[in-house]
Amino acid sequence: MDPFRSKIIPVTAILAGVVVLWYVFAVILNAPFQRDVDQRGNETPGAVEFIGKTLSQPKPTLPAPHQVAVNFFENTFLRSVTSSRSLVYNAWVTLSSTLLGFAFGTALGIVIAVGIVHVATLDRSLMPWIIASQTIPILAVAPMIIVVLAAIGITGLIPKALISTYLSFFPVAVGMVKGLRSPELMHLDLMHTYNARASQTFWKLRVPASVPFLFTSMKVAVAASLVGAIVGELPTGAVAGIGAKLLAGAYYSQTIDIWSALVAGSIVAALLVMVVGIAGRLVDRAMGGRPA
């Protein structure tokens, strides 16, 4: 089937459904407030006028899609990218700590995985702690990391990035343990018949075999990194970043701002996952992967 019929139509259909539902709920959720306002103003609008009003409130309970779209467009394309209200600026602030945290997390995850695969003691002692680390709610840990690091003079990008690291090392560690253990017994036997050293087996067999696992886990990790960066911006009282926009929006009931920051965050997440996916495909191709 051609991609138009197999992908674009179904996805668009769902999107249209979501937008319709969104409008319906916007009317329902914004109606009580609108009725209040109308009563006080002694107005008795007709049904169509009333619905129109529920969809154009300045601080709606649920903003209508077009309100979010207009706000998003203005704050993305019509503002200078250095303005603190620009979504591009705020997205960049969040993105930079996401990328730093993701780099740390990936490196840490790989180091842990190599340790677990090669040292039996680590396999037994470390794995339960790694799993336990992810059961702690990040919202509880994030403020402590920020406060503790601030106490020893580390502020700014690094603390936020470390929260991303905390979330992103886990999928990489688990994926790489699996990847480094993925070579078939026959391939390991083959290396044994060559009397290969452990380091040779590692570099020539385990590492190349783990590459597909690395990219799969990096896709999960990069999305987790972004969540970490946003969460990291909440308790820091950060002045910039998507998390800061969400928090400021919540303080001042700027619901439209919250939603457009949310859209910006989703777009950044989608782009990050896509970039990792493309990098994975390029590497796969370079390693002789069969074109799909």
């Binding site: 078939e184 026959m186 018949t193 009397n195 020539k204 002789g288 992967g289």
Partner: protein, 263 residues
Amino acid sequence: MTEHPPAVVSASKLGLTFQTNDGPVQALSNVDLTIGKGEFVSFIGPSGCGKTTLLRVIADLEKATSGAISVNGMTPEQAREKRAYGYVFQAAALFPWRTIERNVALPLEIIGLSQAEQAERIKRTLELVNLAGFEKKYPWQLSGGMQQRASIARALAFDADLLLMDEPFGALDEIVRDHLNEQLLDLWDRTNKTICFVTHSIPEAVYLSTRIVVMSPRPGRVTDIIESTLPRKRPLDIRETPEFLAIAARVRDGLRAGHSYDD
């Protein structure tokens, strides 16, 4: 009694017992065998008769639990450390991320040969298995038979005198298998290597071997050793001659005597 050349593999009272959850399993019991230089020895028998296990013991991929075995006059472990043999598995076991020439280069890299030496050996062995021109292809771009030939080239690349082959053509269709059998005989004739070949095909064993070791399961043991009377040069149609059929019949009798078809 013909005089045997110096032994490449020599086993006496060799036994191997696996400890499993269902208790000990005797994979090999009382195997006495001497393989001389330049021989082509096939191991044939039903599954579970220990033919693959025996090959793996020679290769030091399994350790014997009783008896004695030597490879080139050393223990299997010493022989492996000296890279005394090339091993060909049931599947080609090529690394999918390496081209054919890089796959053949793998053992050469591990041994630490110079680039020039590697290039020379890759060229020579790929020509030996008729794969010249496919150096830059990845394994998935080759047919199953070609992949298995590449894996034979890889086993030949570091010039071990002993080639251990574990049902290398078992997964291939009959036509390809015939072709590869012919090529393998030709290769054996030209290189004068010692080959140990595991198979469960009677015609394949008879066609290839100078000696056929018939094995039988529970416990895995040698029930008969048949010296082939066929000449060294063997065209494919030798398989229709009465001499060939007589040897095949003897192998079949040997397998039956081992109660191999009972269960």
